[in-house]
């Protein structure tokens, strides 16, 4: 006979409630004493060196002596649909800071927050316009012919496209959790993997953009949270009680929340084209992608590539990332796996020790 395992006694409930309330009392004290400055994100010192239509290019201050800095600078290309701060969440969880410590000269393209007037920006505008302007500016500013690119998620797909079209400007390409083949997860599909792609593939994006203009960040967040609806919507906030009395842990939690819910809206036309061409059409791997009238042929991507993926990534499942190896013309193609998730690759403890050193070593080996 099935023996019912729930044995919750009134005395246990009283003790549990008392413990929770003790944590909450301390937690409220912590919450009320924190200010916005205590929960800053993207705080690594930097200069704004180029600005165009609300898009800013940052040059980060060096953290090692000049002699140790690599000659080829690295431009980080974040996704258009998330804040750049994921690469610089807090001082002890910062890809940017770790790359600086590796002796890399780091630039970052902050796409900013598209306004209603920006809803007509196309993928062509972003890649052949703004990204190209940024790359040209850094090349001149830094006095080099070529720079290296590091793409984050969607920014990786854009970097791949850009590097394919501009082999004369890019020396190395580093990709992190980048979707390349949007269908690759469907073989041996597990329910928790690629749900955003599955749902995005079904969505009427034309109509969505007609209604919203720019697609609100909240809509994108909701689809992200569908991957674990109860835990991300309820469980997480029940569990936060456990860390409310720990000021540092609470600050870390709030920084992540700030990044997660403070992201930009997705520019309407860009989003429509990205879903149509990259996600639904899978044109990057089918060889049918055209940007600004130029065909994007991955076989022409012949520069050194470091493709880093997260083994537990359910947003961009690893097969969607590593598919790149089958399509590129590069003879110097390296894959590197980190045992973490899609966000953990930037903010997780393990990644802080592994990601930047791997990128640093790989770049140094290929540095001019």
């Amino acid at each position: 006979m099935f023996s019912f395992p729930i044995q919750i006694l009134p005395a246990d409930v009283a003790a549990e409630t008392a413990a929770l309330n003790a944590k909450l009392t301390k937690g409220i004290s912590n919450l009320t004493s924190l200010t916005d400055d205590d929960i800053d994100i993207g705080s690594t010192p930097k200069d704004v060196i180029f600005e165009q239509d609300g898009i800013e290019v940052y040059h980060y201050h060096a953290l090692v002596e000049q002699a140790k800095i690599m000659k080829t600078p690295l431009l980080i290309v974040p996704p258009l649909i998330n804040g750049y701060e994921v690469a610089d969440l807090q001082p002890d969880r910062s890809l940017v800071r770790n790359l600086l410590n590796e002796g890399i000269d780091v630039y970052l393209n902050n796409w900013g927050y598209p306004r209603p007037v920006d809803k007509y920006r196309t993928i062509d505008d972003y890649i052949n316009g703004y990204l190209d302007d940024t790359v040209d500016f850094i090349r001149q500013y830094h006095g080099v012919d070529k720079i290296a690119l590091l793409g984050i998620c969607q920014g990786g797909a854009m970097s791949t496209t850009y590097a394919t079209l501009n082999p004369d400007k890019i020396s190395q390409l580093v990709l992190t959790v980048t979707p390349i083949d949007f269908d690759a997860y469907k073989a041996n599909h597990k329910p928790h993997e690629g749900l955003m792609f599955t749902m995005g593939g079904e969505a009427d994006v034309e109509k969505m953009v007609a209604v919203h203009g720019n697609v609100p960040a909240t809509v994108l967040n909701e689809s992200f949270m569908m991957a674990s609806p109860f835990i991300l919507n309820y469980g997480k906030y029940a569990d936060v009680i456990d860390i409310l009395d720990d000021r540092t842990a609470l600050q870390n939690f709030l920084r992540m929340e700030k990044w997660l819910f403070g992201g930009p809206d997705a520019g309407g036309q860009m989003f429509k084209e990205f879903v149509r061409d990259f996600l639904k059409g899978n044109k990057l791997v089918n060889g049918t992608l055209e940007v600004g009238g130029r065909k994007v042929d991955l076989k022409e991507l012949k520069i050194p590539i470091l493709n880093i993926f997260a083994e537990k990534d359910h947003i961009v499942p690893p097969p969607c990332t590593v598919a790149l190896g089958k399509h590129v013309g590069s003879k110097d193609y390296t894959e590197f796996a980190i045992a973490t998730g899609h966000i953990g690759i930037y903010t997780g403890g393990l990644s802080q020790k592994v990601l930047a050193p791997t990128v640093g070593k790989w770049l140094r080996e290929r540095s001019a």
Binding site: L24, P216, E257, G262
Partner: protein
């Protein structure tokens, strides 16, 4: 003292859950006395207000966190309620050593029907139209007023259907045009008045969109209720595994955690099914159609008031975008990149935010 009777255990758990809520409320009310702004709401809601008042806008993240905790607590209670109610159905069967699945299935069907009926009551056509009228009356009182007043008066001497279909008999009477048929005969048929037919057709399309939204919403919520029932079934299986290992669940949060983890896994299976995806998409499309139909009506009103419409603003945006693009390309052709550079500054680069439309 421990009990092996599932009925007693479940009763105990439900009481414990209620007791936990009560205790927290009681403890918190004392604790909150020193915080400004707290009232008699639920505990998290009260703390939310207290934190807001105490931080006085200096900590946006804390305010947002409390808002999310308050929101999630309400939703969490509903989810736990579903779970406990379904477990109460299962428990007697366990006690009698009977298969509990048929009763759980039946409970889920009833729950879906109950939810649907509840939604129907709260989302009936009358309330939708009421809400629609309220929204328009509240958000656009000046703009809507004259037009609605026209419609009502035009229909006041005819009937509403006549006016909605573009009939102008009521309007003619209102303007006393019928008093002198010789001099003004046919005025009601000139194109200007004919345009009202088009406007009213837009209003009817909006009503259709509301009806469609209601139908698809109910179907979606029914699918979701069925998915939740399958999640309970999966949770029962997990409890079986806990029992088989000889383990026990002795804390409310332990039970919540098991339910959430298991439910998430089960829901993901449903979310990937084509049938669910279709239902979800139909609901989403109906929401979008409603928004577009609503905009068509609102734009007519704005045009009548000589105010710029969303479509007109969009056209202007498109022109600005194309001009910016041309300027960018011209600059690139004519000027070296460095001339457009900013002088490096060490200014703070806190992200600027623009709200969506």
């Amino acid at each position: 003292m421990e009990s092996n009777n599932p009925n007693e255990q479940l009763g105990g758990v439900v009481n414990a859950w209620a007791d936990m809520q009560k205790r927290m409320m009681s403890d918190w009310s004392g604790m909150l006395q020193n915080l400004p702004g707290s009232g008699t709401e639920g505990p998290v809601e009260a703390v939310k207000k207290g934190v807001e008042a105490a931080t006085k806008g200096s900590n946006e993240a804390a305010r947002v966190l409390m808002e999310r905790m308050a929101g999630s607590q309400t939703a969490m209670n509903r989810v736990m309620d579903f779970f406990f109610r379904s477990m109460k159905v299962v428990a007697p069967n366990l006690e009698a050593n009977k298969d509990w699945r048929p009763d759980l299935k039946s409970f889920a069907e009833n729950w879906a029907k109950e939810s649907t009926a509840m939604l129907q009551r709260s989302m009936g056509m009358g309330s939708h139209l009421g809400a629609l009228g309220g929204t328009m009356g509240k958000d656009l009182p000046d703009a809507m007023g004259p037009w609605l007043s026209f419609l009502m008066q035009a229909a006041s001497t005819g009937h509403v259907g006549e006016a909605m279909l573009g009939g102008t008999a009521g309007l003619n009477r209102l303007l006393s045009l019928e008093g002198d048929p010789g001099s003004v005969a046919g005025v009601g048929q000139i194109p200007l008045f004919g345009a009202s037919r088009e406007k009213n057709a837009k209003m009817l399309r909006l009503v259709d969109a509301v009806t469609d939204l209601r139908k698809t919403s109910l179907t979606f919520h029914q699918s979701f209720a069925e998915a939740l029932a399958r999640a309970v079934e999966a949770t029962m299986e997990e409890l079986g595994k806990v029992s088989a290992k000889g383990d026990k669940i002795t804390a409310v949060r332990q039970l919540m955690s098991l339910w959430y983890r298991t439910a998430d896994k089960s829901l993901l299976v449903t979310f990937n099914k084509q049938e669910f995806l279709d239902t979800q998409n139909n609901f989403t499309k109906a929401q979008q159609n409603f928004k577009l139909a609503q905009r068509a009506v609102v734009e007519d009103i704005f045009r009548n008031m000589d105010m710029p419409t969303r479509s007109e603003i969009d056209e202007a945006y498109q022109v600005i975008h194309e001009l910016k693009r041309e300027v960018r390309m011209l600059k690139k052709t004519l000027l070296p990149a460095t001339t457009t550079a900013r002088k490096p500054t060490a200014r703070s680069t806190a992200a600027r935010r623009a709200k969506s439309e």
